[in-house]
Amino acid sequence: MSATVSTFDPHHDEPEPPLYEARRQIYPQTVHGLFRRIKWALLLITLGIYYLLPFVRWDRGPGAPSQAVLVDLEHRRAYFFFIEIWPQEVYYLTGLLIVAAMTLFLMNALAGRIWCGYLCPQTVWTDLFMWVERVVEGDRRERMQRDAGAFDLEAFALKLLKHSFWLLIAWWTGGAWVLYFSDAPTLVVDLLTFQASASTYTAIFILTFTTYIFAGWMREQVCLYMCPWPRIQAALTDEHALNVTYRADRGEQRMSLKKAAQAREAGQTVGDCIDCNQCVFACPTGVDIRHGSQLGCIQCGLCIDACDDVMTKVGRPTGLIAYDTDVNIKRRREGLPDIFRPIRWRTMLYVALIAIVGGVMLWQLLHRAPFTVSVIHDRNPVYVKLSDGHIRNAYTVRIANMLTDERHFRFHVAGLAESTVTIIGEDAAVEGVLNVSVGPDQTRELRVLVTAQDDPQRREPVLLYFEIKDQEIGRTAVGKDFFRTPSTNH
């Protein structure tokens, strides 16, 4: 099994090695077993969620969309069940991505490329496309024979049928994607009656194309050449992570069943591996797991199912290929018992990071104000001297009302005694209090002027508090900015 490394010598007669390599067509064999069942279950769950979630309804009251999961780009709102996100709260997405990355790292530390093997969209859709292929064209041997034989009418008909199903699934995939960005039932009708926008059809077309190409034609090429995760993953794994492993200590010397029987009779020790290659045939990326952990292996466990099947048939214990750790391979070689340490510094760190980021996000979400106020000081001029010598500062104040009805706020600027506050277009203040209304689900921009006597002794800018109070629900939001005068603006 050791490969030879040949050296290319330009002065030798050897032909120059090829610069490009054609893809080898892989014909995965059907397998049955525990991991195949887990993969089917996860496929049904993940694709079920993907295709059906846009149709789930969630009542948000009148004037708000009733779709449970919706990214409303036109109105710049995102909805996820009871959560509503405005563009300025996009940091939730950042948090979500951090949690997702840490979860990926955690999965990797516990069980290697479990993401690649079971949950990655590339794997799930490829699995679905392979299933279609198997139903239409038959299993491994049948497909190989047909591809090797003449391209007759039957072969053409079967290929046509397969590609039609693939395109149908791919189209449905793109179609489901756009439903997350608009009211799903309405959009389905619009799509069927050709009323939807050109950009919607373009999005569907692009996703149909990529799904068909990636899951139908590219398959393992995506994992091998396009995906960065196998490279990153290799740097993050460690000797305690469970990986799909051929137990070479048990398997070698491998030999055919007949030879093994003869060797055993002769009193020799032989390995359990009968070199039947079923693990290679079952592999969706075409690797030989007996070469050890490798880039091409997405660790889906299908070779485990295939090998267990064979081991049962030949009456040897199962688990010749199994989820195993590097540390246990080494320990068995030294005659030590297996150990499993899912709780390690590495995993605890990931869990802690997930808990911290998730906790901060949850806290933020629970304390999310129904309205916010933000203040921007005029930059030029910073202050204005009035004809009577008073100093005026101007501010742009934005009030965001995230509730679904119009709210009335008491607007008050605190921090500077003896000052006058004016809002352009609003009635003058009564006892220092102004009233401002903001429509439902809207942001309103106000131009606010604060005027006060100039105090040449003042050296530091005065911090002002722009408070809005909704008296009905008794909540306050505060924005801060400074009041500056010639003597403070040194």
Partner: protein, 295 residues
């Protein structure tokens, strides 16, 4: 036993990996061939690029360039974009045209649009003289304060923007001319100095000891009060500044005041009535008025 040092590419291909023959200090360069589809992707990109030559303006000729099958041009594109922008603003523009000036600030929606559109128009047309934030410069008024040469009510501001100040091409332009008392020999130098002291005292500025304010008052009444008023409070009808406040367009030091009395005159502002449409002028008016609340 497994060979731990083996490269994973090797495993995947399950065949010998050649080297390129290059070797540096014992380090060999493996030849792991690229997938062939990668090469095809490259060819596809070349084809795509050829498409650009055919469909878009691309090849320079002796005079001009190839126009491309689509007839696409950046100039037409910007015209299309501008037309789209105009169409999207149409409803609000009509609202601004139909709403009386005085009512625009009372409607939050129209005010917000007018301020945005006015601010943009200000940046393009007005900021050259008045400054990006309308903060003004010496001789160019600050539009954020409450001191208005020609009036700070909405109608006054609209009139000033539409017809300009001392803009001869416009018949309705605001006009007035302060005599050049010094340069034209209307007053002797010593009277101008006395007058300057008196003007400073009007504005509450510190005056040198021994200044003859009584004589200054007489000179002011004879030469200045016609426009600036007996009290020096100015006259917005004639664009005569109020000399008793804290805002000094040309500076409040003695030399600046002497200079103004000597050379007279006043600022010039173009008339925008023929250059900007009604809605833009209205928006500009509201924007300028909202900067400091006008009068």
């Amino acid at each position: 036993m497994m060979d731990q040092s083996k490269s994973s590419h090797q495993d995947h291909a399950d065949q010998a990996v050649g080297t390129t023959g290059h070797e540096w200090d014992g380090i060999q360069e493996f030849n792991n061939p690229l997938p062939r589809w990668w090469l095809y992707t490259f060819y596809a990109c070349i084809l795509w690029a050829v498409g650009y030559w055919i469909f878009y303006p691309a090849i320079p000729l002796l005079s001009g360039f190839t126009k491309g099958a689509f007839g696409w041009a950046s100039r037409t594109q910007i015209e299309i974009d501008m037309a789209e922008l105009k169409a999207s603003r149409h409803d609000m523009v009509v609202k601004i045209e139909q709403t009386p000036l005085a009512d625009i600030e009372k409607n939050a929606e129209i005010l917000s649009f007018a301020r945005a559109q006015g601010g943009a128009a200000f940046a393009v047309n007005c900021s050259t003289c008045h400054g990006a934030g309308a903060q003004g410069f010496k001789g160019y008024p600050n539009l954020n304060d409450d001191d208005w040469l020609w009036g700070g009510k909405l109608a006054d501001i609209e009139q000033t923007i539409t017809h300009g100040v001392r803009w001869d091409a416009d018949q309705d332009t605001r006009t007035s001319a302060m005599p050049a008392f010094g340069r034209d020999g209307l007053l002797p130098r010593k009277d101008i100095l006395v007058l300057a002291d008196y003007v400073m005292s009007l504005g509450g500025l510190p005056v040198e000891k021994g200044a003859d304010l009584a004589a200054g008052q007489k000179l002011f009444a004879a030469n200045c009060a016609a426009c600036h008023g007996d009290q020096g409070k100015g006259n917005q009808e004639m664009g005569a500044p109020n000399l008793t406040d804290k805002v000094w367009l040309y500076g409040s030091d003695r030399a600046s005041i002497i200079e103004r009395i000597t050379i007279g005159g006043g600022g010039v502002m173009p008339a925008w009535g023929n250059r900007l449409d009604k809605a833009t002028i209205k928006s500009l008016t509201v924007y300028v008025h909202s900067l400091g609340g006008g009068q």
